[in-house]
């Protein structure tokens, strides 16, 4: 096969795989950012953003932390309409409502309000990234991984001349490989 024909095929593969897996690339890239920062401790939860507030609340009359006390405590944070349940432990009560929970120390009255907001869409992206769904998505994501390899290799040969793999392309590709190698050598 002539070099010109090979390059045409290479560019066509690169172009069409790029179009076809555009959505998957966005899904993995966006959830990848979330995972990265979740793993490095910047996010408390990958699927929910959380807000915490420290409060001091009234202790239960007679020391009985029951449902009435749970509802009264939720009133103070305007969440009483969204009550779900409560549990008690040694010296504390934890009250759950639809979008969070209220943890009250029954000795000091100090409380922590946790409110969570779902990261809509990103939550579903994370689900795909973790491959919790399994079934045929495993095969589709494998196909995407193979396509990424083809995209990477074919990408090297899209351009001709000094901006291609002969000079500028080679330099950038080498630098891009060098960075993770240095990081592995330094920290792994």
């Amino acid at each position: 096969m002539q070099r010109k024909t090979l390059r045409r095929w290479n560019n066509a593969v690169h172009r069409d795989l790029g179009y076809f897996f555009f959505g998957m690339t966005l899904i993995y890239a966006l959830s990848g950012i979330i995972m990265n920062h979740f793993k490095s401790g910047d996010f408390v939860h990958p699927d929910y953003s959380k807000r915490y507030e420290q409060l001091t609340l009234a202790l239960p009359a007679g020391g009985l932390a029951d449902k009435a006390y749970a509802l009264k405590s939720l009133e103070q944070v305007h969440e009483e309409k969204y009550f779900k349940s409560y549990i008690t432990g040694t010296g504390y009560i934890q009250i759950f409502f639809t979008n969070g929970s209220l943890y009250i120390d029954l000795i000091t009255g100090k409380a922590e309000l946790e409110e969570k907001t779902p990261r809509y869409v990103l939550k579903e992206f994370n689900l795909l990234h973790y491959n919790n769904i399994k079934h045929w998505f495993t095969w589709f994501s494998d196909a995407y991984a193979v396509a990424l390899i083809l995209l990477a290799i074919s990408g090297l040969f899209v351009l001709r001349g000094k901006n291609g793999i002969k000079w500028r392309g080679a330099l950038l590709a080498f630098t891009g490989i060098l960075i993770p190698v240095i990081i592995i050598l330094l920290y792994a």
Binding site: K84, I87, T88, T90, L127, Y130, A188
Partner: protein, 183 residues
């Protein structure tokens, strides 16, 4: 147009059929299934290892690393039952926390012996990700434990193992086949 719709319908039929099969499998298991209570779970767990069981409780925690675990309590958090997601369950979403759920699953035993604890200690001492090993308790903040906390936990388990007079400690959990939220 009709031809295109027909082609689209084929995978949908397969999907529906596989969902229906899953439901039937779960229903068959229900027939000879013991019902365990959260508060007495650990007293009777050893009699049901590998068998299907049903259990109901309030979700106190779901694992934020992929949602493959949740913990059930009943009124107090002194007893927590670990539920792991079986193959049919995508994840236990954080929104389940505080909800009452009914779980159908298979009771599993994990044995922790001296070798297990040594391997766990070696992994914890590595600087890299070390969440895959160890005992999941579902306690507040257990997923954010530092290396020293984990080493303390390992030493505590070594003491428990020594005091038990046995060559292993047993940890019980339920691998969920299905679950429903009780309204």
């Amino acid at each position: 147009m009709i031809k295109k719709l027909f082609l689209l319908a084929i995978p949908c039929v397969f999907l529906l059929a596989s969902c229906n099969q899953t439901t039937k499998d779960a229903e068959n298991k229900k027939a000879d299934t013991a019902t365990l209570a959260v508060l007495t779970f650990f007293d009777s767990a050893s009699n049901h290892i590998g068998k299907p069981i049903r259990i109901e409780g309030t979700v106190i925690h779901t694992c934020k690393h992929g949602g493959k675990r949740m913990f059930l309590v009943d009124g107090t958090d002194s007893i927590r039952v670990e539920i792991t997601a079986g193959n049919n369950i995508t994840k236990f979403d954080e929104s389940l926390i505080g909800s009452k759920v009914k779980v159908l699953g298979v009771l599993k035993e994990e044995r922790v012996d001296a070798k297990y604890l040594n391997e766990w200690e070696a992994e914890v001492k590595k600087p890299a990700e070390n969440h895959s090993t160890g005992i999941h308790t579902g306690a507040k903040g257990h997923e954010d434990k530092g290396t020293q906390d984990k080493l303390d936990e390992i030493n505590s388990l070594r003491n428990d193992l020594k005091n038990s007079g046995k060559d292993h400690l047993s940890f019980f959990s339920v691998e969920a086949i299905s679950y429903t939220v009780v309204k």
